[in-house]
């Protein structure tokens, strides 16, 4: 009989000795080169962490390969970051350069530290999700290939955190990223009455709609969609497979910018929509990659040192952001969902 409720693997068994010895005693860190962190403890101990990007969706061969590397250079210890990078933890400074050489020879990109593009946090997309409006891994691969130089260098004004969620469920929680790519639907759900009748709790389905667009239809033992109220969020589809919302011709990606979670300098903030829709054009999503590059490059030219993307935009003003990037402003960017009012300007202090 399997043991139940034994809880997570104990982290204490997973810490390299240098970390166990200097736990809570770290004094400061430096970034000697992109992708390399040097942490110095009060004891004088030095820990080097080499950070590499991973595609997140990996094979067991990949896991075994990083294990081999960790066995050779790191006494068998490694960790993953909250952004799906792998960090090799090295206590012997003479092993740092050989490790980096080995990683580069094997095609692992070293980087993601400091004023760099981090690995893109993302969802499952067409690979394994049941509600996506776009793919995830493919879009991320296309964007990371395009902006590759900014992962392995630190020449951005500040760190750049990109997130991708393949639908509005936002499992990737892209909503507070410097730059977010979000899969969106643009058409109302198509009701499959038979599926609804077979196994759907109608009250839950009705309650799942944030705008009250779904009404019960007792005569048919199904529901009616009030089309003009529907904002295509897809929550009904998550509740009821009979509310089919995937639409090959009309699904795509929106781009949001300027969010962050850190409290440094400015408060945590939500990303704001700047492009309401770009088409799904696999395998390379050229419209999405071009839009992302345009925003990033405009920020590089105009942002000040240490200024996150959103901090730069707040300084110059959103109106100026649209001028500088050449992104057209439209009614789609003016909120008409709940909590919209706080985003409307109530002063005469703006820019042209």
């Amino acid at each position: 009989m399997a043991k139940l409720d034994q809880g997570p693997i104990n982290y204490k068994d997973m810490l390299p000795p240098i970390i166990a010895e200097n736990y809570g005693q770290w004094q400061y860190h430096e970034i000697p080169r992109p992708g390399l962190l040097k942490h110095v403890a009060e004891s004088g101990a030095e820990l080097y962490s080499v950070r590499v990007g991973s595609p997140r969706l990996v094979s067991l061969d990949f896991v075994r390969e990083i294990c081999d590397i960790a066995d050779t250079f790191c006494d068998g210890y490694l960790r993953f970051t909250s952004r799906n990078n792998v960090e090799f933890l090295v206590s012997d400074p003479t092993k740092v350069e050989p490790l980096i050489a080995e990683l580069e020879a094997k095609g692992f990109p070293v980087g993601g530290t400091g004023a760099a593009l981090g690995n893109i946090v993302h969802t499952q997309g067409w690979v394994h999700c049941h509600t996506p409006a776009t793919d995830a891994s493919g879009v991320v691969k296309a964007v990371m290939d395009d902006l590759f130089e900014y992962f392995g260098s630190m020449k951005l004004p500040s760190k750049l955190r990109v997130g991708l969620a393949c639908c509005l469920n936002m499992c990737g929680a892209a909503h507070c990223s410097d730059l977010a790519i979000v899969g969106v639907h643009r058409t109302v759900p198509r009701i499959n009455h038979e599926k609804i009748r077979k196994g759907t709790e109608i009250p839950s389905l009705v309650a799942s709609c944030p705008t009250g667009a779904i009404r019960p239809d007792p005569k048919n033992k199904s529901v009616i969609v009030h089309e003009e109220k529907c904002m295509y969020c897809g929550n009904c589809y998550t509740m009821a497979p009979g509310m089919e919302i995937m639409d090959a011709k009309n699904d795509g990606c929106a781009i949001l910018v300027g969010g962050k979670v850190s409290n440094a300098r400015t408060n945590p903030s939500f990303s704001r929509m700047v492009i309401p829709f770009l088409p799904n054009n696999p395998p390379r999503w050229p419209e999405v990659t071009a839009a992302v590059r345009n925003i990033v490059e405009t920020w590089i030219v105009n942002g000040r040192k240490g200024e996150r993307l959103g901090e730069w935009i707040e300084r110059i003003g959103w109106e100026k952001f649209f001028t500088l990037t050449g992104i057209p402003f439209s009614d789609k960017l003016i909120d008409d969902y709940i909590f919209s009012r706080e985003t409307f300007r109530t002063s005469a202090t703006f820019k042209y």
């Binding site: 399997a2 139940l4 409720d5 034994q6 997570p8 693997i9 982290y11 068994d13 997973m14 970390i19 809570g24 770290w26 004094q27 860190h29 962490s49 990007g53 595609p55 990996v58 094979s59 067991l60 061969d61 896991v63 075994r64 068998g76 210890y77 490694l78 960790r79 970051t81 909250s82 933890l89 095609g107 692992f108 067409w126 049941h130 793919d135 691969k141 590759f148 469920n169 990737g172 929680a173 507070c176 839950s204 309650a207 799942s208 944030p210 969020c233 497979p241 090959a248 699904d251 979670v261 850190s262 409290n263 440094a264 300098r265 945590p268 939500f270 799904n280 696999p282 395998p283 240490g306």
Partner: protein, 397 residues
């Protein structure tokens, strides 16, 4: 390997960023389901829609969650994907591993699943991607034997996660790894047996840089802070100045509360302690010279979530400062959580995150009913309208 052509997948092997397609192909050498996954994805790229249906109920004995059912909508074409379920495994705090454990996970998954995995899923679990129904229980038995437990799915406590904390960061204001481990162990029942209105997430960040994005991504965010003044090492400040850092511009001018003064003659940095809002900026720029204060603890925030249903919420402050040092402190935290969850259980609607319940019923009512004292740290600024719910005991009979 595969006879079927996958030109769009093949294209995604080009370019310098590591390719998930290459990873699927590696797994496909050993596993027919992984091979079909590649073809199914090619089909999605042609059709521009996903080909996965809603999950049915699958699971292991004794648990209500941890396994997510997944079936393709084209099983005739892809028989190995007719069942392609996900198993979530509970990861160690801050995602530290030894290779022995990782290899053990690989061996078990090679035996039971597709050979594909996510390190890690968005919530922080190890995601075992793709297995058929008959392998679920044997896979769990093997993982369990290896000391590896399932994570959460459904309307339960989801696997908590934490930042690297004191293990490798000088900024950690409390032990995020131990807090995460201790609290996760306390709530195994809540994690494995979904009984709530909807999911609930904890994230533990050691400082206001919030590397787990707890404020955006967790219903309860525990963010390290301090209550006294930052500590400045003047010798280290002088060192930064000597090395050419423009301290006035990079540090003082960017201090959001103008709490820092740099003396250009003495090369010393001074802080007006009562003006500092503990944002972390100066500490980030001058890690050798500025440190958090000595009286450390955590700010507890509630309600964070992303878009679905009532729009995205950032967690809001419910306790500005709580000690997080020992079992007694954790007990205080757990006691508060018990009151909060009981209230949510009582008042929450199905599929309503706690932030949405609090928002619908009012923060005032929430605070009264769970017994949390209202303090100015909870608001940016007080309300601008006079519509107040007065309580009976406040009215003269």
């Amino acid at each position: 390997m595969t006879e079927k052509k996958t030109p769009q997948m093949d294209e995604l092997e080009n370019g310098k960023w590591p390719s998930f397609v290459t990873e699927i192909k590696k797994a496909a050498v050993k596993n027919p389901a992984a091979e079909e996954l590649l073809q199914l994805l090619e089909k999605s790229y042609e059709d521009k829609i996903g080909h996965w249906k809603h999950g049915g109920i699958v699971g292991v004995r004794g648990y209500g969650g941890g396994v997510i059912g997944r079936y393709t909508d084209v099983p005739e074409e892809f028989p190995h994907l007719a069942e392609f379920h996900t198993m979530r495994l509970s990861a160690p705090s801050a995602w530290f591993y030894n290779t022995k454990t990782l290899r053990r996970i690989c061996d078990i998954w090679e035996k039971h699943g597709s050979g594909l995995t996510n390190f890690h899923g968005s919530t922080g679990d190890i995601i075992m991607l793709g297995m058929n129904t008959e392998h679920i229980q044997p896979a769990f038995d093997d993982f369990s034997e290896a000391g590896i437990d399932l994570g959460g799915s459904g309307s339960c406590l989801r696997s908590p996660s934490c930042c690297v904390g004191p293990a490798r960061c000088q900024n950690a204001c409390y032990d995020t790894l131990e807090a995460c481990y201790n609290i996760t162990n306390e709530y195994q029942d809540e994690l494995h047996r979904p009984m709530w209105p909807y999911k609930f997430k904890f994230k533990f960040s050691g400082c206001a840089n919030d590397c787990t994005a707890s404020i955006a991504r967790s219903d309860c965010s525990v963010i390290g802070t301090w209550r006294d003044s930052i500590i400045i090492d003047q010798e280290a400040v002088k060192q930064y100045a000597a090395e050419g850092m423009n301290i006035q511009e990079r540090v003082c001018d960017k201090c959001p509360t103008r709490a820092l003064k740099f003396n250009h003659d003495t090369k010393e940095l001074a802080v007006i302690a009562e003006d500092c809002s503990r944002c972390m900026h100066c500490i980030n720029v001058m890690p050798k010279a500025v440190k958090p204060g000595k009286e450390k603890g955590a700010t507890i925030l509630l309600g964070g979530k992303s878009t679905i249903v009532q729009s995205a919420f950032m967690s809001w402050v419910i306790v500005p400062f709580m000690k997080m040092e020992n079992e007694d402190d954790y007990a205080e935290f757990k006691d508060m959580m018990a009151r909060i969850w009981e209230w949510w259980d009582e008042n929450g609607k199905t599929r309503e995150r706690i932030g949405e319940t609090v928002y619908r019923l009012g923060m005032g009512r929430f605070l009264r009913e769970v017994g949390l004292p209202p303090v100015p740290q909870m608001v940016f600024r007080p309300r601008a309208n006079p519509y107040v719910f007065w309580q009976k005991d406040e009215i003269i009979e």
